[in-house]
Symmetry: C2
């Protein structure tokens, strides 16, 4: 039997996932900023990217407080998040914004659900570092304006959003299979399988509403 | 005769250059972070990149206060700074750090010299937004460690640094020729040609000292 006294608390799994997600979101938004059609939009996205790093710093500090090296906690998520982003490299400004709007939207809803069952101070920390609505509002406004100018854009971006969600689900399944402690945290938070099904139903409904709000269809 | 009442003050030229330099530095450091050999270094560089954006925000706010659109003030510097970075794309982590250490070092020395002749509050603002020494210290420590492990690295990086300085000088000449107001600001700050020569001598000496400090040679 192994001594588990020194093993990290399950919440470190979630904090590690979130910390790495922030680092990657920073990286991705910084790269997306290059696709911006003008300097004003480029600066706006760069400023939003910088906020992700502040969040990364808070999560890393909490991991250290729990006696976990941030690098160790993030390690298991490098491959699945890397695969997701490699499979969904945006080709242009609108694809980048749709990815941020749709992908971060689902991910944030999911993290919010999981956080609800955490103890303080981790619950507050996780809720606090989730993307503020500025980025989503900015992306939604740009998407709506682009679809108003050229309605055909909606079809292309709807297909793109379906690809994003498919790829995200396949990486999420991989993570759930490999990271037992994280999966347990989610399942035990939900309580039973009915509640777990209800959680996925809520995520799906919120996603559908978000798509509709900017003129995309599922 | 044109009415110059509405034309921006000369200091807006310098603030526009600095603002765009911050946006580009953010972009460059975020891209360089991908070259980091591990997550700890990647996070460190990402955090330093985020600081550039805070500085961008302060410069943009000051430009707006002066009645100048940040985009307009930055516009003239997009091509020369873009050309510099295109010609000096780092191939690996050490080239990226040497570029930050050598390139930002010379640029910051130069901005500091120009700032000395500005009126408050612009003098304080410019001095304040120049790269803090954390980035240079981080880069210097990494370069020294790499050269200690493999002294041949010093030759490769010394050649690389010479290329960086050459390219920076050629773009600086282009800017000086095209942006009369900025060039005047520098020349009138210096006072006379002797003092201008002395300025370039100080920049060269500081550059040589910086190279030597990490084991690179001119």
């Amino acid at each position: 039997m192994s001594d588990t006294a020194g093993s990290p608390p399950p919440v470190a799994e979630l904090l590690g996932l979130l910390a790495y997600a922030e680092l990657v979101a920073f990286d991705q938004m910084a790269a997306d900023a290059r696709l911006a059609p003008d300097l004003r939009r480029r600066a706006a996205l760069s400023e939003m990217a910088a906020r992700e790093i502040d969040n990364y710093g808070r999560l890393a500090a909490r991991l250290e407080e729990l006696g976990v090296e941030p690098e160790d906690a993030m390690g298991p998520y490098v491959a699945p998040l890397g695969a997701y982003h490699e499979q969904t490299e945006p080709k242009d400004w609108l694809e980048a914004l749709a990815k941020a709007y749709v992908g971060d939207g689902v991910a944030d809803d999911f993290y919010r659900e999981v956080a609800a069952h955490l103890d303080p101070p981790d619950r507050e920390l996780v809720l606090d570092v989730l993307h503020d609505s500025r980025h989503a509002d900015f992306a939604a406004a740009e998407l709506r304006a682009a679809i108003a100018v050229d309605p055909k854009v909606a079809n292309r971006l709807s297909m793109w959003a379906r690809r994003l969600v498919g790829e995200a689900l396949s990486q999420a399944q991989r993570v759930a299979a490999e990271r037992i402690a994280l999966a347990s945290l989610i399942v035990s938070g939900a309580g039973d399988l009915d509640e777990l099904q209800a959680l996925f139903k809520r995520l799906t409904q919120a996603h559908t509403a978000r798509m509709g709000a900017v003129g995309l269809n599922n």
